[in-house]
């Protein structure tokens, strides 16, 4: 509605000029039509008026020839003269009636035509004067005609124009009957003449005499000439009327054309002025758009329904996307080239959703997958780096409120994302401080101190590994796997101690490393720099933690740990038992499971510290595995006729002669080879043929390979395929070996045999 108003306002003058032109045009056409119609009538009137003159003379001539034929006894002549006389009289009489009152008459082509009443006073006077002569004249003529009747004067002929062809034909027949003798009429007329010749001659003489005598109302010496003169005058008057109408028509046409020209000139001037003003505004607007697009830092462009980039976009767009952008080109190939696959697919769905009209824009904004999208870009020197882009989409509506385009804004948010990450890091450091305070408050100082020492050593190991130059992607992969195993161990220890900030940092590092590992062939030195940055972050957190522990430990009077219980000292319960039970309960709660944990770690006190540390690391990983892969959800356990609460047991036994055994057992779903086969095929780790070709034992052994996990979605506790290969390496490092026992839906048991005697 508003847009209609604005269009009207914009083109008001032109619309007004056009309407004026149309109205004037309609008036001129109307006047022309009326005049043309009147001209038609005038033509008929003039034509018939002229014929009246001729008829008056023809009837006089017929009277005279009839008289001659009567005298000569010429029957054919009598017939011809009577016919001529009747035709002339009837036509004259009816036409005169037409001039007086308006009536259907026989036209110039012998077809019926409507004769309108004469319009001017003068004409009416001529007709009236003619009637004065004609009425007695007609009375004298009547006995000579084909019948005694008057002209047809019924309404049928007089009242209307006959547009119906059938009625027109009927009228024509009536006129012919009126104006001509029938054979019967002739026969009767000739019988009358034969039987009353003298009377007929007398009637003829009377008619001739009247035609030739002087009428007292007229200056002409004969009635016949008076009628001729009056009809002449009528014709002249009618011609003058027609001429007057033609003059009016010419004036109207001239005025109309002059007006049309003025109007046209006005319209053209207004249009040109408006067009020039419009062009100027358009040019200014275009210039503004160009300046905006050249200046704006964001990437701006319109996306049409075919997902094509519009013809105009901001100059910064190619720089932000690091791609050459061609106007009117497809957008999706650009997106596909820079965005990770899963994000690209989600983005295509999202764009389709916005281009459709089924959902409101505001409702789906939160679904935009293209926020903080990491992209790998290559600079002119072929170096790759990660940048973060955010794409924002806004619907553009047409005048009829239909979605015509999407306005896309692209921002390089790398600095923002990095800053956010740094803030997050700072928060995590603060969190570490708080958690450390809480840990100290719970008097778990020694465990914390050991953890700090262990983490320090682990980070040093990682750094040393990284300091070796890597020439091949394979070397880097090996290093990544090594780092991941250590990170995983740190994560487990942090989880046991409840230091969530370090646990989550280790987890995020682990995720990044897994992501790097996915494309083994493209592992580059650039990515090692990223690993170094992650490592430095870890050092920072470790350093903060160590400083706080040292400072607060001193303040609370705590001393450096002696390295565990003195040899030979016994205790009812090793503190690690509580830690590992807490870890199991935390994972159970996270996964909606229930578990009862039993630990017998008393023998840990008699083991060397390094061995205890390794067993603790192994315990953490095997407990994670048991809780995520082994223990089922309560409903599932009930279906297998097992208690809804799972059982997890860890114990260490001394077998004598320096031989120990350490066991972790759960009563969960067990290791099921067929299930593993399906999973490996689904994850493209093995082909179906390869999976079928391997024995159950070989399939089960696969779970000890790096990068192999059996959960669908990775989380903080599992899924990155780092755990069991790290366990196996630790067992080997201890010089021991590991036995795995399992039964489907019953249990899984990891039994580690090792010796403290070299």
């Amino acid at each position: 509605m508003d847009s209609n108003r604005s269009v009207f306002s914009k083109y008001r003058k032109i619309i007004f000029a056009v309407i004026l032109f149309m109205v004037a045009d309609a008036i001129v056409i109307g006047i022309n039509f009326y005049n043309t119609f009147k001209a038609d009538e005038s033509a008929v009137s003039i034509n018939l008026s002229g014929r009246q003159r001729m008829m008056s003379q023809r009837m006089t001539k017929a009277l005279l020839t009839l008289g001659v034929s009567m005298e000569a006894g010429d029957e054919d002549g009598i017939k011809t003269s009577l016919k001529e006389l009747t035709l002339a009289v009837r036509r004259f009489d009816r036409t005169l009636m037409g001039f007086r009152d308006g009536a259907m008459v026989t036209g110039g082509d012998d077809n019926p035509v409507y004769l309108t009443q004469v319009g001017t006073e003068k004409s009416r006077q001529f007709v009236a004067e003619t009637y004065v002569i004609w009425k007695p004249y007609m009375e004298h003529l009547k006995p000579l005609l084909n019948s005694d009747r008057d002209s047809f004067s019924d309404n049928y002929l007089n009242a209307t124009k006959l547009e119906d062809p059938a009625r027109l034909e009927d009228a024509k027949k009536r006129f012919q009957a009126e104006e001509n003798f029938t054979d019967e009429e002739f026969r009767r007329k000739l019988e009358y003449i034969a039987s009353n010749p003298e009377q007929f001659k007398e009637e003829l003489r009377a008619a001739v005499a009247f035609a030739l005598e002087k009428n007292p109302t007229h200056s002409e010496p004969q009635n016949n000439r008076a009628v001729l003169k009056l009809m002449n005058a009528l014709t002249t008057d009618l011609e003058q009327v027609a001429s007057h109408r033609a003059a009016i028509l010419r004036i109207v046409l001239v005025v109309g054309i002059v007006f049309a020209l003025i109007n046209f000139g006005y319209t053209v001037i207004i249009s040109i002025r408006d067009l020039m003003a419009g062009d100027r505004k358009l040019s200014e607007a275009r210039q503004e758009t160009i300046e905006i697009l050249a200046t704006v830092r964001e990437g701006l462009f319109l996306l049409d329904k075919n997902k094509k980039i519009g013809t105009q976009f901001s100059e910064s767009l190619p720089d932000i996307l690091r791609r050459e952008i061609v106007p009117d080109s497809d957008f999706l190939p650009h997106l596909e080239a820079i965005a990770p696959r899963n994000i690209y697919e989600a983005a295509v769905d999202y764009i389709d959703l916005l281009l459709g009209d089924r959902v409101k824009e505001a409702l789906v904004v939160s679904l935009n997958p293209l926020i903080n999208v990491p992209i790998l870009v290559t600079d002119p020197r072929a170096n790759t780096q990660t940048r973060y882009l955010s794409f924002f989409f806004n619907r553009v509506l047409s005048d009829d409120q239909q979605i015509s385009h999407l306005l896309v804004t692209v921002q390089d948010v790398t600095d923002k994302v990095v800053l956010t990450q740094q803030i997050e890091q700072a928060k995590n450091l603060a969190k570490i401080e708080v958690e450390t305070l809480l840990r100290l408050a719970s008097s778990d100082f020694e465990a914390l101190q050991r953890f700090i020492d262990n983490v320090g050593k682990s980070l040093a190991q990682i750094n040393e590994k990284m300091s070796a130059a890597h020439d091949e992607a394979r070397d880097r992969l090996h290093t990544l796997n090594y780092i991941m195993r250590i990170m995983h161990g740190i994560k487990g220890e942090a989880a046991v101690l409840g230091i969530e900030a370090l646990e989550s940092y280790a987890h995020s590092c682990e995720e990044e490393l897994v992501s790097m590992r996915e494309d083994e062939q493209s592992l580059s030195g650039d990515q090692m720099l990223r690993v170094a940055v992650l490592l430095e972050g870890f050092y920072q957190r470790h350093s903060s933690l160590a400083q706080i522990v040292a400072r607060l430990g001193n303040a609370l009077g705590k001393t450096q740990p002696s390295g565990g219980m003195p040899d030979g000292m016994t205790a009812q319960k090793h503190p690690f038992a509580d830690h590992i039970a807490a870890l199991a309960q935390r994972i159970a709660a996270d996964h909606g499971k229930q578990v009862e944990v039993s630990c017998q770690f008393e023998k840990f006190f008699s083991l060397p510290k390094a061995t205890t540390k390794e067993l603790q690391d192994i315990s953490i990983q095997l407990v994670r595995n048991a809780m995520t892969h082994g223990i089922e959800m309560p409903d599932e356990r009930t279906q297998h006729n097992k208690p809804s609460i799972g059982a997890l047991s860890l114990w260490c036994e001394y077998l004598g002669h320096g031989q120990y055994t350490f066991t972790v057992r759960d009563d969960g779903c067990g290791i099921v080879p067929d299930r593993l086969r399906k999973h490996f095929v689904k994850k493209n780790i093995l082909t179906a043929a390869e999976a079928d070709a391997l024995s159950d034992q070989e399939i089960a052994n696969r779970i000890f390979q790096p990068g192999v996990s059996t959960v669908e979605v990775a989380d903080q506790d599992s899924g990155h395929g780092i755990g069991l290969d790290a366990v196996l390496e630790k067992v080997r490092g201890m010089g021991g070996y590991m036995l795995v026992k399992s039964r489907p839906n019953q249990f899984t048991e990891f039994n580690i045999q090792f010796s403290t005697v070299l």
């Binding site: 170096n383 040093a460 750094n463 040393e464 990284m466 070796a468 890597h470 990223r530 490592l535």
Partner: protein
């Protein structure tokens, strides 16, 4: 290393890479990266150049390379004189390139000294840099060199 991110570190490595690419059309490849902490190689080669930062930043950026590498570079540049001073000048030019890149990246708030160059003993860097400085080991042809980033944001 507070207030410095991965992108910032890349700036320095990119400068070295750009220098070699401009002269030889052969880019420098990052072999690995680590922190100068504990028992790791010091990444110090025969000749070392460095720039010192102040203003919103403090610390130094080092470029250390073996004589053989710089000699090869001079050879490709068509230099007739390849004595010790010329080699040090070349190391200084690389440090200058790092300086230019850093100024573009960090803006005018970073004040940068003129490059200093010197012949260095194998463990020299370990004795002068802060703990956990970044070492980026790069390779050009068969040679190894290092970029060591020891800076922190102070503002």
């Amino acid at each position: 290393m507070k207030g410095i991110n991965e992108k910032d570190i890349y700036t320095f490595v990119d400068a070295v890479s750009a220098f070699f690419f401009q002269v030889t059309e052969e880019k420098v490849e990052i072999k690995t990266a680590y922190l100068l902490e504990g028992d790791v190689p010091s990444a110090t080669f025969d000749l070392t150049s460095y720039i010192t930062l102040s203003g919103d930043f403090s610390g130094r950026i080092y470029f250390s390379a073996p004589r053989s590498m710089l000699t090869h570079l001079l050879l490709l540049m068509g230099e007739q004189i390849r004595d010790n001073d010329r080699l040090l000048d070349t190391a200084g030019e690389i440090a200058n390139t790092i300086s230019g890149n850093a100024r573009r990246h960090f803006g005018e708030t970073m004040e940068i000294s003129v490059p200093t160059t010197q012949a260095t003993d194998p463990d020299w860097l370990k004795t002068v840099v802060s703990p956990q400085s970044y070492v980026i080991l790069v390779k050009w042809k068969q040679y190894r060199a290092s970029v060591v980033v020891d800076i922190q944001r102070t503002a």
